[in-house]
């Protein structure tokens, strides 16, 4: 299985999961819930819609705030996470709604923001 970090990963929101089953994606969302096992997270996107993220390794620490998840969309329209980073919000909060608007624009103009 190819390393998902070496291929284009389209930036998507929850509404786009169904159209990207099996594809490598990049999802940005705010942590809403962490499963007691630490293996699953629920993130909300800029429209408030929830996505379930399955981690390849369970979390060993509490995590909160905005995460950027890289992974593949499963048949159940969840994301199998290969890696994630936390967006820093120590100086300014991240405007997730604005990011969602930006997603709409880059999806509308793929000729000016190509993935791959």
């Amino acid at each position: 299985m190819e390393d998902v970090h070496e291929v284009p990963r389209k930036r998507i929101a929850t509404a786009h999961l169904a159209q990207h089953i099996g594809k490598p994606v990049c999802f940005v969302g705010r942590v809403e819930k962490i499963h007691p096992t630490g293996k699953f997270l629920v993130l909300s996107d800029g429209e408030g819609k929830h996505t379930t993220v399955e981690l390849s390794e369970p979390l060993d620490e509490e995590i909160s705030g905005v995460l950027e998840v890289v992974g593949r969309v499963t048949n159940q329209a969840t994301i199998m996470c290969m890696s994630y980073v936390q967006f820093r919000e120590d100086k300014s909060p991240f405007d997730l709604e604005l990011y969602n608007e930006a997603l709409k624009i880059i999806h509308e103009f793929p000729e000016y923001f190509p993935f791959g």
């Binding site: 970090h5 291929v7 890289v70 820093r88 880059i106 923001f113």
Partner: protein, 232 residues
């Protein structure tokens, strides 16, 4: 005709990888680029005596090689290695060696506010759209963009305030029409008004005055007719 961008153009890694090289210049869909900015996360950092090699990932392709030359006289400070996992803005020049693209960075700055990343995404679409529109013949009917929030792109009518090669969108359109006019006495102001439906005569005259004072065009038979100084 070349539209040379003397500004720094925000790009995706995928755009840089797709850029075509002709002699010493790179073009992204016919728009010439040299200095660019990208924003992404550092996946890898390798320090060598004279340079630091980073791999910067913006999700649009595989991570790109970014090389930063180190001032060997300077101790620490400027040239501290930025750790992997950090989101950065990179400003640099595009290079290609043995068919592999890379950037030579003159500035690498960690992002302190991640909203800058959202802005960068929007600026990429905006910049490439405007650069592309400036290349097209202005006599084409203006396209209307759906109101996705960018609003009037300024390529036709409106503000047109993003300067490319030192010219605004209005000035570029007027210059392109004048350049492409085959008639010996050049293009008349009336003809320009006829072709540029969305521009007022006073806007056209202002553009002509500016272009003339900068030496891009010159008047021919009278003050209403202009030719381009750029030899075809």
């Amino acid at each position: 005709q070349r539209i040379r961008s003397q500004n720094i153009v925000p790009c995706t890694v995928s755009q840089l990888l797709a850029a075509e090289q002709v002699d010493e210049t790179f073009r992204i869909r016919d728009v010439e680029i040299s200095q660019v900015t990208i924003m992404g996360i550092i996946r890898h950092a390798e320090k060598a005596p004279t340079n630091i090699l980073y791999k910067v990932d913006d999700m649009t392709a595989a991570p790109m090689d970014v090389r930063q030359w180190v001032d060997t006289d300077e101790a620490g400070g400027e040239n501290a290695v930025v750790p992997p996992g950090t989101y950065v803005k990179v400003a640099g020049h595009l290079r290609s060696f043995q068919n592999k693209k890379s950037l030579v960075a003159f500035k690498i700055m960690p992002l302190e506010n991640m909203n800058e990343f959202t802005t960068h995404i929007l600026e990429i679409v905006n910049a490439h759209m405007i650069l592309r529109k400036n290349l097209m013949s202005a006599s084409r009917a203006p396209q209307s963009f759906s109101s996705a929030g960018i609003g009037d792109m300024g390529g036709y009518g409106g503000g047109g305030s993003l300067p490319v090669n030192g010219l605004t969108a209005h000035q570029s359109q007027v210059l392109n029409l004048i350049k492409n006019c085959p008639v010996p006495e050049g293009m008349s102001l009336q003809e320009l008004k006829h072709q540029l439906q969305n521009m007022s005569m006073s806007t056209i005259k202002q553009a002509v005055e500016f272009l003339s004072s900068e030496g891009h065009i010159y008047s021919t038979v009278d003050d209403d007719h202009y030719k381009s100084t750029d030899a075809e």
